[in-house]
Symmetry: C2
Subunit: 229 residues, 2 copies
DNA sequence: TAATTTAAGTGTTAAAATCACATTTACAAA
DNA sequence: TTTGTAAATGTGATTTTAACACTTAAATTA
């Protein structure tokens, strides 16, 4: 005899995404002005509801894609939030994800269509529901993760300078780093490709561009290598 | 006008607990023989369903308490599993938690009542649904967490010897540690209280017992102290 | 009560990683 | 060709980690 769980409560499950981006001035997240009640007009994370036929990962990708147009970005499940009254309309649980995107490549039109806006992480407004809590957890996780896995590269353009990379890590880790020590450390990891090209925007001398060497990194992983910054 | 989410899918939400314990021979988890279909008779994590009126944390505590009688133990949300067909009966998502308990104090009767059994982590049988995957994720998390937070103490009796503590960390981290280096390291953290008592079971000389000094640890935390093992 | 047995307790040294720090170089613009 | 600007580069001091073996305390037994 199959038990059919008939007596169990059913609830609505949502997904919310903390989308990180990075520009010269620092780390940001993408927020939207909520266009429906409750809390219409307030700032909110990007979210949506789970369909019966998909996983939370699927839902997160679907939702992120709808807003940004991106299809292949770093995304990780963060935590599941379930305070009973977190959504005033109805009992809803929400699985939060965080994503890292290259801010230069996002789709302007979509951003506009959804009245989305980038906010520096030091200036996040009050958000609906428990979204501030979600953000706090996300940035904590990002800080830990970025110092043990090379996920940060997802926030940069494909080609970047050492200084950009350093500024990125300074933004993520929220502390100043020493230039020489940083470069020495990165070089010792030996997971970047130094290109012949230079970025001539920042100085007369120009600074060399680098790429992250995904293949080399994966090969090293097999050899018990750990990224540690 | 309040949107009421009427058109959204509703699903059943479950909680599953990976319960860690520790004895002289190593790290273990508590499993039960499932007494209802589907998969009746197979080994499974301890689980239950989320009620509309509780959070996942509440549900996890309730479920754990029903089985072990414990009320105040280290427990942490791990990950949310949502493969569409993970439960063959019905679409169900499950939030996994892991808990650390002092194996000596658990309630024998309850264990028997639920046909529960301890399994060494190196000898976990095939479990129902995606429970093996849950276990793998739990032990990975435990390993990381135990080396940055002093959670391991939850697995030991209140008073313990240095050797017990070392064996515990060897079991968690799954590697041999050097006795002198381990003691030096622990002592340098300065978060244990050395008692006047000795444990005379293990040797003629007897070995001193220690307690974890929660208050001192918390005070140090304020001072930007990090546990690192 | 002296000798034996057993695990507990204890420090030092070498190697590696981290940290602090200042000058030279390449290039464009004037 | 001189000047201005940011990029590029290396060394020594300090701290942390890792390897390693003998002495001590106490119960047991001869």
């Amino acid at each position: 005899m199959l038990n059919n769980y008939n007596t169990e409560d059913k609830i609505i499950a949502a997904v919310d995404c903390i989308i990180f981006g990075f520009d010269q001035k620092g780390l940001k997240i993408l927020l939207i002005k909520r266009d429906f009640e409750p809390e219409k007009g307030k700032w909110s994370l990007i979210g949506g509801f789970l369909k019966k036929s998909e996983t939370f990962d699927n839902a997160a990708i679907r939702i992120l894609n709808r807003l940004t147009g991106f299809i292949n970005i770093y995304m990780e499940q963060l935590y599941t939030f379930s305070k009973v009254d977190r959504d005033p309309v109805e009992r809803t649980i929400s699985v939060a994800y965080y994503a890292l995107i290259n801010i230069e490549e996002h789709n302007e039109e979509l951003i506009e269509k959804y009245s989305a806006k980038w906010f520096y992480v030091s200036k996040i407004p009050q958000l609906i529901f428990d979204h501030n809590e979600m953000f706090e957890r996300a940035i904590k996780r990002l800080r830990r993760r970025a110092s043990t896995k090379p996920i940060g590269f997802g926030l940069l353009p494909e080609k970047f300078t050492m200084l950009q990379l350093q500024k990125l890590y300074e933004a993520i880790l929220d502390k100043k780093l020493d230039k020489r020590n940083f470069i020495n450390k990165i070089n010792s990891l030996d997971i970047l490709i130094k290109l012949d090209e230079k970025d001539m925007n920042s100085s007369r001398k120009g600074s060399f561009l680098y790429k992250f060497d995904q293949k080399k990194y994966e090969k090293k992983l097999l050899d018990d290598f750990t990224f540690k910054l």
